[in-house]
């Protein structure tokens, strides 16, 4: 088994397909409800399959923070309207293979959008580094 992070982006990644270009605030309430139901069903299905680890949606606005020396408050910067890459949410899965991770990401990308059509949104798939050290040398 291997753990993967599936990332949904507000911005960034390859050029989105037409269905994924309309911002959610321009969808109808019924379209939004159908989308959210799909996401919940998908999480339930992953739980049933024993592949679910976790998942959350992220607010679009955040800040960059850094250390600024002993005794000084953290420095913050942003939010940046122009940042190229902006993550909208994450889902962590524990699956048998990379193929299964891609299949799950493709399913996530098929979530319904405007007109009930699949969004065909790009999902970023990132493997986690295994935490356990090798026991064989």
């Amino acid at each position: 088994m291997a753990k993967f992070l599936l990332l949904k982006h507000y911005r960034g990644g390859p050029q989105q397909r037409p269905n994924a270009r309309t911002p959610m605030e321009e969808w109808t309430p019924a379209e939004i409800a159908a989308h959210l139901r799909f996401m919940e069903d998908m999480a339930d299905d992953l739980r049933r399959r024993g592949e679910w680890v976790g998942g959350e949606a992220l607010a679009p606005e955040g800040a960059f923070v850094r250390y600024d020396g002993e005794g000084r408050p953290p420095v913050t910067d942003g939010p940046f309207a122009e940042t190229k890459d902006l993550i909208a949410g994450w889902m962590m899965i524990d699956v048998e293979s990379l193929e299964r991770a891609h299949e799950t990401a493709a399913y996530l990308s098929s979530a319904p959008g405007p007109g009930g059509r699949p969004l065909e949104e790009w999902i970023e798939v990132r493997p986690f580094l295994e935490y356990t050290p090798p026991v064989v040398d």
Binding site: M1, G50, D94, P127, L129, T132, P134, V135, V136
Partner: protein, 381 residues
């Protein structure tokens, strides 16, 4: 308590199944009985712990049937009648292992089911060891049980599948409260008592010999220490002695297999008092043997290291040429051979490349440090 209870789990489960209980339901009942034992035994220890668990598990089983199908009273009565006999002394653990490692299961499901039904670990412990939520692990286990129930287990189980699952558990090492490597050794010891197959001994020997080196595999900072640089005084001598003993018994049957060959290589490393004393020509012979049994690119990669030790780094690099680029750890081996060939700059680049493609955090850190050690502006060069 845990140490006492867990060896009883497969035995109790075996009794329930032999009495006609469905495996999946029986497995749940055994877990429920364990919970009750943990709660009640501290107040008064039963004279016959196994009999106690069988009785309680059977009652749980009857309860489960009753609540599930209260109308099917006849079936419940049948279960009641069977429960009266004495507890048989047969060991069904082998059959249970075949069931848990059914070829229809994914390896992760087989691992989880084995750890619970034979290892006696709780779902929470297994979930923690594999870093997933308990609910997810519970689903994985019940799904696995459904799959096996649908497929059924014939009289002839797949011993190879059992060995693969046990080796996977061993390779998981330990992250939290449960030491999976030690658990894999415990289960393989159990299997070795039930099956005379030499590959079972081969796997047990392989595990013992690798486990013996565990105390030397990390330094004080938690960084990986490669075999050649390990402090060999930290190796577990009694584990090595046991491993060699088990291996010799297996090899004496003259039916060589993959695990025996790998264990033979591990034994040669354990036998050398310093890295310089390693009998590399013999190691290489075993790799040739292993390659005949299992002509995999991973074996070919490890063989290239041995070639490098026996015939020099150039020969090692030549052996490496036939190993495909996408084999994990290939870049790390190439780096090592280039370093030995007197090309530190190439080696440093390859170590950095190997670090970026490492799947494991500890390996990544180790490879980054190796790259830094050989960097042109590194201190001391």
């Amino acid at each position: 308590m845990d140490e006492l209870l867990r060896p009883l789990v497969p035995q109790v489960l075996g009794v329930l199944v032999r009495r006609g209980a469905d495996l999946a339901t029986a497995e749940d009942a055994v877990q429920d009985a364990l919970v009750e034992a943990v709660r009640r035994w501290p107040d008064g220890f039963p004279e016959d712990p196994k009999g106690w668990l069988v009785t309680v598990a059977w009652r749980k089983l009857v309860d489960a049937h009753r609540s599930e199908a209260s109308r099917r009273t006849r079936e419940v009565r049948v279960l009641h009648d069977v429960a009266q006999g004495p507890v048989e002394q047969r060991d069904d653990t082998l059959q249970l292992l075949f069931w848990c490692c059914h070829p229809a299961l994914t390896s992760a499901s087989a691992v989880a089911l084995t750890l619970r039904a034979v290892g006696g670990l709780t779902t929470r412990q297994i979930a923690e060891a594999y870093l997933v939520p308990e609910a997810t692990m519970a689903q994985r286990i019940s799904r696995a049980k459904r799959t096996v129930s649908e497929h059924g287990v014939g009289a002839d189980g797949d011993l190879g599948a059992v060995l693969r699952v046990l080796y996977l558990v061993f390779n998981e090492g330990y992250t939290g409260e449960v030491d999976l490597a030690a658990e894999a050794i415990r289960l393989t010891r159990l299997l070795a008592r039930l099956s005379p197959e030499p590959e079972v001994g081969g796997l047990l020997a392989l595990m013992l010999l690798h486990h013996a080196r565990r105390p030397a595999r990390r330094d004080a900072d938690g960084m990986l220490v490669p075999l050649g640089r390990q402090d060999r005084s930290l190796w577990g001598t009694s584990l090595i002695a046991e491993g060699v003993d088990v291996l010799q018994t297996a090899l004496a049957q003259d039916r060589l297999g993959e695990y025996q060959a790998q264990a033979a290589i591990a034994a040669l490393h354990c036998d050398a008092r310093s890295a310089d004393e390693t009998d590399w020509p013999q190691v290489l012979e075993w790799y040739d043997e292993l390659l005949r049994i299992n002509p995999s690119p991973v074996v070919a990669l490890n063989r290239a290291v041995a070639v490098g030790e026996v015939d020099g780094a150039r020969a090692g690099l030549a052996a490496l040429a036939s190993v495909p680029d996408d084999v994990p750890r290939r870049a790390a081996v190439a780096a090592w051979l280039h370093e030995r060939a007197g090309e530190p700059a190439t080696a440093a680049e390859l170590y950095a490349h190997a670090a970026s493609s490492a799947a494991n955090l500890a390996e990544r850190h180790h490879l980054l440090r190796e790259a830094a050690r050989l960097a042109p502006d590194a201190p001391g060069t």
